[in-house]
């Protein structure tokens, strides 16, 4: 028995966790990058980032002023079926006030800002289903700096793997320092135009120290990671060895006549938080475990 109030409280907790404490894989990646950088300016950028992460954890305030738009992934377990949207919206509104978050959601044409991060279809819900005994909620606050560097290319099948690599190099060099590197490159290959974009964002939900289970895709992730970090764009585009912290790829089968490829970049402030809510209302925080149990 999961109450709407539980959903609302979990939403608020997840948002607070996400914007104040980075997942461990991202923190490890940034610490490693700091060790490996040699140029003074690059090292300074990373030391600023690491100091900022500590400030956020201590003060429980958002690490970045761009607390993003709120993208939710809700996975309903076996036989769990309930309306969650109203409770999540309410949670976002209260979190905006209490944490606080920056009110970012505006009307796309009039630019009117309601001030509470909600509006038509915002926060955005992605619904999925599983055979598990719980409902899982993940929030990904997505900032605009990195999101604005997204790209989609409907390649011809004959351009193949080479075409995919060209597209990655073009997108990353064009983005330069704008998406707040070191970034994470999320990529979707195949499906259709919209499916590839959706996969590119979902790829960012996977920790950067976990490769795709398909060895061929895992190899491509490693190859692209090495290539991008040899470009020299570096932290904040001011030069250096670390342009990406990770490359995460998802793929789907596609039409024999098409090869869609999509890129969704994520800034170093790769904020995400996940919780599981069991049938009895018990909550388990996955990315940000609570001390002394749940």
């Amino acid at each position: 028995m999961i109450s709407e109030n539980t959903i609302k409280e979990v939403t608020k907790n997840l948002l607070k966790d996400a914007v104040t404490v980075l997942p461990q894989d991202i923190k490890n990646g940034l610490a490693k990058a700091y060790e490996e950088e040699e140029q003074t300016i690059a090292k300074m950028q990373l030391s600023n980032i690491l100091e900022n992460i500590q400030l956020a954890e201590k003060s429980k305030l958002p690490m970045c002023q761009d607390t993003g738009i709120q993208i939710f992934y809700i996975t309903f377990g076996k036989g769990i079926n309930m309306k969650v949207e109203d409770a999540i919206r309410e949670g976002v509104k209260e979190a905006t006030n209490q944490i606080p978050l920056r009110p970012n959601a505006v009307h796309p044409i009039t630019r009117e800002n309601p001030g509470d991060n909600t509006g038509l279809k915002m926060p955005y819900m992605n619904y999925r289903f599983s055979d598990e005994e719980y409902m899982e909620i993940t929030v990904m606050p997505k900032g605009a700096g990195s999101e604005n560097m997204s790209a989609l290319s409907m390649l011809t099948p004959s351009s193949g793997l080479k075409g995919i690599k060209e597209f990655v190099l073009n997108t990353i060099t064009k983005a330069g320092g704008k998406p707040c590197p070191p970034t994470i490159l999320g990529m979707g290959i195949g499906g259709s135009a919209d499916i590839s974009m959706k996969m590119a964002k979902e790829a960012l939900l996977r920790p950067i120290d976990v490769h795709h289970s398909d060895p061929q895709i895992a190899e491509l992730e490693i190859e692209l990671y090495g290539a991008i970090n040899s470009l020299g764009i570096g932290p904040m585009g001011l030069g250096g060895k670390t342009t990406v912290l990770g490359v995460n790829i998802e793929y789907a089968f596609c039409h024999t006549a098409s090869l869609p490829v999509a890129i969704n970049l994520q800034c170093w402030a790769a904020r995400r938080a996940t919780a599981r809510i069991y049938r009895d209302g018990k909550v388990e925080y996955i990315t940000h475990p609570k001390e002394g149990g749940q």
């Binding site: 958002p62 970045c64 002023q65 761009d66 630019r111 190099l169 764009i233 800034c267």
Partner: protein, 200 residues
């Protein structure tokens, strides 16, 4: 790499002395302005209206902060930079007409802005993107706000900086840009990378 402490309003000669790679800390008033505030200010100019603030010799920060109102006054929570290139089309005129001496942001700006920096004596200072609590530490208080009807991120906030930084001189008034340098390094690295990826 020199470390320089400057006060606003900025002195043109001191600004022109800055070269790429220098590290700057700023004290004094700093004005935030993003897309909407740039557009709004230039509209004011066209209509012959006076701006609510004086931007001559000022430092303008591409930033949409998180502010919180407590006991009727605004408190700064977080204030990192936004992507400067969104202001590419507006900045040259903004620098020329208002006499701005420093632009603070991230990611760099295009050639017309670099040209305006040398022509009118201005500098582009890069601050670490996303490090919004670190940069907020360099802001002593919030002195005021204009155009709040544009929304919290887009409003023009008047901040009081105290050793605000570290800021990297990324584009200077001698036509030099760190981003151009990185860009040519990237191009130089490209042929080897393309070969390794099996593209050439």
């Amino acid at each position: 790499m020199k470390e320089i402490r400057l006060n606003t309003p900025l002195d043109e000669n001191m600004v022109r002395d800055l070269v790429i790679g220098d590290v700057v800390y700023l004290s004094g008033e700093i004005f935030t302005a993003r897309d909407e505030a740039h557009i709004h200010a230039l509209e004011f100019l066209k209509e012959g209206k006076n701006l609510p603030v004086n931007l001559r010799d000022a430092a303008v920060f591409h930033c949409g902060p998180i502010m919180q109102k407590k006991n009727n006054s605004w408190h700064l929570i977080a204030a990192g930079p936004t992507t400067s290139s969104r202001m590419n089309l507006l900045e040259p005129e903004f620098i020329e007409k208002f006499g701005v001496r420093a632009i603070i942001g991230k990611g760099g700006m295009s050639k017309p802005t670099l040209d305006a920096l040398s022509k009118f004596g201005c500098v582009y200072l890069a601050i670490t993107g996303g490090a919004a609590l670190l940069s907020a530490k360099g802001i002593k208080n919030v002195k005021g706000v204009h155009w709040l009807d544009l929304g919290m991120p887009e409003a023009l906030w008047i901040l009081e900086g105290e050793n605000f930084g570290p800021l990297i001189v990324a584009m200077d008034s001698n036509n030099s840009s760190l981003y151009d340098k990185v860009d040519s390094d990237t191009k130089a690295n490209m042929s080897k990378i393309r070969k390794e990826l099996g593209l050439d």
